[in-house]
């Protein structure tokens, strides 16, 4: 297992190099050069940048030099100095912008995933073990409606209800007084108060699908001979269902944990925009639209790296929960 992980990590390196080249090419695609646009942006805001400042930027990122030099400066900046470049739009280093948002996003998404499983797995198990009963039909209808309801629509409905019924605004992760405040205990408490609505909305968006998956996978397993073996042993029905077929039916969930790493960044963008959450999705969307090249490039790079890492994590988790998968390949 250990050797397998090492080998997979080594194999990831060339993949990541290719990914970084592609990300860099993409951010170079917009016409015009970065410095000119940067200066134009500044002067549009009534600011000017002195020749010295421009010179420093030019030096730091190798601007105006051949493209491969720029690429190496960019990549080595990230690897050696943790310098992801400068955001044109925010007038700040990218590294000061993304990490807090990334942390919030990961928190939000992982809590949402757990909440979603916590609802979906028992409901799916109940549906499958009571197939064709009235509760199964009711749950099926609800989850079909759920699968067909986009998350942003749900967010809009919740916002509308909160506004019209409770006279309360539900957008954002913080109250306005904490939005720009530095981190403190009060800010954390304030965030937790706001967190549950986006968590529920994001969770519910995937819950319906997870119920369907659990139900379908479990139905496949329930008639397998090993379940009959367990029953013929004299095990209690509820115990044996959870120990054997449910355990096998949940494997696909474990294997998608890794992939959801990448969707953490880009996923739920629509919900986040609607609810104005300070997560990565909306920021990335805006960076792409406003051609904020270092910021967009950083997101692209993070996104693709997390996809690669997530796939590895998935494979490792799957091998860990399913002994049939041999880690030799």
């Amino acid at each position: 297992m250990f050797g397998y992980i090492i080998r997979r990590v080594l194999l990831m390196i060339p993949t990541l190099i290719v990914i970084s080249i592609i990300s860099f090419v993409i951010i170079q695609l917009p016409p015009g050069d970065y410095l000119t646009s940067y200066a134009a942006q500044l002067s549009a805001q009534g600011d000017t940048i002195d020749a010295q400042g421009l010179k420093a930027l030019e030096e730091r990122y190798g601007l105006g030099q051949p493209i491969h030099v720029q690429y190496f400066k960019w990549v080595s900046g990230i690897i050696l100095r943790g310098d992801w470049g400068q955001s044109m739009e925010w007038q700040k280093p990218v590294k000061d912008l993304i990490w807090e948002r990334l942390a919030l996003t990961i928190l939000l998404s992982s809590v949402a995933i757990l909440v979603s499983w916590f609802i979906a797995i028992p409901v799916g198990v109940y549906s499958a073990t009571h197939q064709y009963s009235i509760p199964d039909y009711v749950l099926s209808v609800i989850s079909f409606v759920g699968v067909g309801t986009p998350g942003f629509l749900l967010a809009l409905i919740v916002m509308y209800l909160a506004m019209s019924q409770l006279n309360q605004s539900v957008g954002g992760l913080f109250s306005s007084e904490f939005l720009l405040a530095p981190w403190s205990l009060a800010k954390v408490v304030d965030m937790l108060k706001h967190l549950w609505i986006p968590v529920l909305i994001i969770a519910l968006e995937s819950t319906a699908g997870s119920i369907r998956t659990t139900r379908a996978n479990l139905l496949d397993e329930l008639n397998k001979p090993y379940v009959e073996t367990a029953r013929a042993k004299g095990l209690e029905e509820g115990k044996l269902i959870w120990k054997y077929p449910v355990r096998v039916a949940l494997n696909p969930f474990f294997s998608t944990v890794g992939w959801s790493l990448a969707s953490l960044i880009s996923g739920q963008t629509l919900i986040a925009v609607v609810l104005s959450l300070q997560t990565t999705g909306p920021m990335m969307l805006r960076a792409l639209m406003s051609q904020d090249m270092y910021l967009a490039g950083s997101f692209l790079l993070l996104l693709s790296s997390l996809t690669v890492i997530g796939t590895l994590v998935s494979d490792i988790i799957l091998a860990w929960v399913d002994p049939r998968i041999r880690l030799r390949g």
């Binding site: 090993y226 009959e228 073996t229 042993k233 120990k243 355990r247 399913d322 002994p323």
Partner: protein
């Protein structure tokens, strides 16, 4: 027959499956008995209801199946000192999820299934699954149960039992898995072992080994075995008494010699003709399937004798009208056929 030798008595058992397409009368009045320590062979073409019989006894008939009629009496030695007393339980009366049937399953009556490849959970070790069966029915600690499991694996001839116990099923061959299943089934010393085609999925060499093992274990442990198979060669080798099933009914029952040398029911006779004889040249070998026609549609069991559409000795106007009675032709030899009335 002395009553205290009786272990299991199945009377007029009817198990039906209620499907949207209609009712499948999988068992349509099955009668037989198993005595203590006896090996009963259950033979018949696939689909005749052998597995449903086994599941009915264990009360694990899957939905939408249900026992609609009949009795399954299990005679257990009494717990008290009066050893002549027996405890009788009618298994059809028990709640299939209740504690009473669960204390019988895997403890008094154990099952060795047909498919060793898929009958063990792929994500649990062999040991985990055997230990579970042991702690369920015996008052032992986990460590003792593990010792016992290793002992059982050794008993069934598993190579390196103390290492194999921690293996996952996919790491074991079909024969080893079936040995594991037998070890699990025997771990509580059942009075009855139901072996549902235990060697059908195995190659010939492994089959011979498993059959030999089961014979040895029966001599050592003395449990009764209900040996389900469609292979008459296996019946000849393994069993003392045989019931022949056709479309949910027992059409003939006799001791194994009588079945082979003096079969009465046309179905039994046809079944015997269909086995290739040992020593027969391939060239001379008769067609394996010498019974004309195939099993009728299970939704519409023919009127009269259910075998009459395929029977070469049928009497028109009788066999297609009247349900044949169960006729005793000799000691312990019964058949359901009007020819012997």
């Amino acid at each position: 027959m002395e009553n205290n030798h009786l272990l299991l008595e199945v009377k007029n058992l009817k198990t039906h499956f209620f499907l949207d397409e209609g009712t499948v009368r999988a068992l349509d009045g099955v009668d037989f008995v198993i005595k203590r320590g006896q090996t009963l062979g259950v033979v018949g073409e696939s689909g005749c209801g052998k597995s449903v019989t086994a599941r009915s006894i264990l009360r694990i008939v899957p939905q939408p199946g249900r026992i609609v009629d009949g009795e399954i009496m299990l005679y257990l030695p009494a717990q008290s000192n009066h050893s002549t007393l027996t405890n009788v339980v009618n298994l059809t009366r028990l709640n299939p999820r209740g504690t009473q049937i669960r204390s019988i399953r895997g403890c008094r009556i154990a099952l060795v299934p047909q498919e060793p490849m898929t009958s063990l959970s792929p994500v649990h070790t062999l040991g985990n699954q055997i230990v579970e069966a042991i702690v369920l029915h015996q008052e032992v600690s986990q460590a003792e149960a593990r010792e016992k499991a290793i002992y059982m694996l050794d008993l069934v001839g598993m190579p390196q039992p103390s290492r194999t116990i921690d293996r996952y099923p996919h790491e074991l061959s079909g024969g080893m898995r079936q040995r594991g299943m037998i070890a699990m089934a025997l771990s509580c010393h059942p009075s009855l072992l139901i072996a549902d085609e235990p060697t059908t999925a195995l190659d010939v060499t492994t089959e011979a080994q498993i059959l030999k093992l089961m014979q040895r274990l029966q001599q050592e442990l003395g449990m009764a075995i209900m040996f389900i198979t469609h292979n008459l060669g296996v019946v000849a080798r393994m069993t003392e008494h045989v019931i022949v099933m056709y479309m949910g009914k027992v059409v003939e029952e006799a001791d194994v010699d009588t079945i082979f040398h003096n079969p009465k029911h046309p179905y039994t006779q046809a079944l015997l003709k269909s086995i290739p004889r040992l020593g027969q040249r391939t060239r001379e070998r008769r067609r394996l399937e010498s019974i004309s026609g195939s099993v009728p549609d299970p939704y519409s069991i023919p009127k009269g004798c259910s075998f009459h559409p395929r029977c070469s000795q049928r009497i028109v106007g009788l066999c297609d009208q009247e349900e044949p009675p169960n006729i005793e032709i000799g000691p312990g030899h019964k058949t359901r056929c009007v020819l012997y009335r």
